[in-house]
């Protein structure tokens, strides 16, 4: 349905990768032209907590946004299930636990306006350990702050460790594929030779029989 509604010349797909540490004051900001769709995809592991926040940036501070400057947001899972849908909102957020592992897509759309303009949208999307809400964990006082910092570092290190395992697993899959390609190339080359020779032999046999029938040999 998304595809059929938003057939625009510039279809931009944004894929979001996981963020290690938290404390996002400003997330990412991108421009969305009126009538265009932009999608952000993020690779989320299964049962990972994920949190997202989006808002339209006011072009002039203090002035409210016009009624037309609203966006429609939809978050879908890799298998197409809808996890979040918001229509004509200025800002909003979503949070869910991933039921499937894979690429989750958050698509933004804004209705077409007669003078074509582009809206700036602030967007934050954290998942896994980065989605942990540190403000809840934070306590008052200076020593606790340092402890908090070190806790965050520990989380980062844990994520680095897990990511190393994932990288290793992926590399092994790539290696496996390359080896299989290599083996296939060897068998196919051999068969190519066999077919070539057999085709030549068939030709010779057939033409010989043909000429003998025609009493030329």
């Amino acid at each position: 349905m998304w595809r059929s509604i938003n057939i625009v010349t510039l279809i931009v797909t944004l894929i979001l990768r996981l963020l290690a540490s938290s404390q996002l004051v400003n997330g990412m900001r991108f421009d969305l032209e009126t009538g265009a769709t932009k999608c952000i995809t993020e690779d989320i592991k299964i049962n990972a907590m994920t949190v997202g926040k989006y808002s339209v940036v006011k072009p002039v501070e203090g002035f409210p946004l016009s009624e037309d400057d609203r966006i429609t947001v939809r978050v879908t899972s890799p298998h197409g299930n809808n996890y979040h849908y918001a229509d004509h909102k200025e800002s909003g957020n979503f949070a869910f636990t991933a039921g499937e592992a894979g690429d989750y897509m958050a698509c933004f759309w804004t209705p077409k306006q007669s003078p074509e303009k582009s809206l700036s949208i602030d967007f934050e999307w954290k998942s896994g350990l980065a989605a942990k809400d540190w403000s809840k964990v934070a306590k008052k006082g200076q020593v606790e702050m340092m402890e908090l910092e070190l806790k965050k570092l520990y989380d980062s290190v844990t994520m680095v460790h897990e990511e190393m395992f994932n990288l290793r697993a992926r590399e092994e899959m790539t290696q496996h594929l390359m080896r299989s390609t290599n083996a296939k190339m060897a068998t196919f080359s051999f068969f190519s030779l066999v077919i070539c020779l057999s085709v030549a032999a068939l030709q010779l046999w057939h033409l010989k029989a043909f000429f003998q029938r025609k009493k030329l040999i």
């Binding site: 894929i15 990768r17 030329l216």
Partner: protein, 208 residues
């Protein structure tokens, strides 16, 4: 926003941006904006281009990457590349613009990661009495860890790109080999048919 700003001052958090991949289309420029709070912050990151469909053609020549400062000056430029790391020291604070430009018609998907890191220096230490020299060390440690994370993301994106290439190679090997067999058989069949026609009596009597 206020609560976040206070937390930022007290905890010296680093500003980080989610890794984003864009697919840039015909002569199009896709830009992402990132706010740098302090002058002198190190902005580092990487990006990798993932081809959509490389079955028939060769590798995409690459895209251009341009970083502009809030004043409009170009801070960094990389042309015709399919994946690189970058790092620079922000000359001033403000909203920096990271643009990807695709000069060719095939759409591309770009996966990138941008990190803005701030390490409190003596000036900050003097300003805020809550700050400890330990905080500086913690910030340095965090920056080092972030560089490891950035490297991991780069490797992950490059691995995805290599996997696409390998899968395409695998499919192409099978397709072209089967096509080769079929063409070989067809060519030899045509040869036989042609020779038979040369010797048939109905065509130009004893032409051979």
């Amino acid at each position: 926003m206020k609560a976040y700003a206070i937390l930022l001052l007290l905890l010296f958090s680093t500003l980080t941006v989610d890794v984003t991949a864009l697919s840039v289309t015909v002569n199009d420029v896709e830009c992402v904006y990132e706010y740098v709070l302090y002058e002198g912050d190190t902005v580092s990151g990487n990006f990798v281009v993932v081809d959509h469909d490389i079955f028939w053609s060769s590798d995409h020549p690459g895209i251009d990457f341009i970083v502009s400062s809030p004043g409009g000056n170009v801070v960094q430029t990389m042309k015709g590349t399919s994946g690189e790391k970058f790092e620079f020291k922000a000359p001033r604070s403000g909203m920096y613009q990271f643009c990807f430009h695709n000069p060719y018609s095939t759409p591309e998907t770009v996966s990138f990661y941008i990190h803005v890191g701030h390490i409190p220096n003596e000036h900050d230490l003097a300003k805020d009495e809550h700050l400890d020299p330990v905080n500086v060390k913690i910030a340095e440690l965090r920056e080092a860890l972030e560089s490891v994370t950035a490297e991991q993301k780069f490797l992950k994106a490059r691995d995805a790109r290599h996997r696409h290439t390998n899968e395409s190679t695998h499919k192409r090997v099978i397709f072209y080999t089967i096509a080769e067999y079929v063409l070989l058989a067809v060519a030899s069949g045509l040869q036989v048919v042609y020779i038979r026609r040369l010797f048939s009596k109905s065509v130009a009597y004893n032409r051979v």
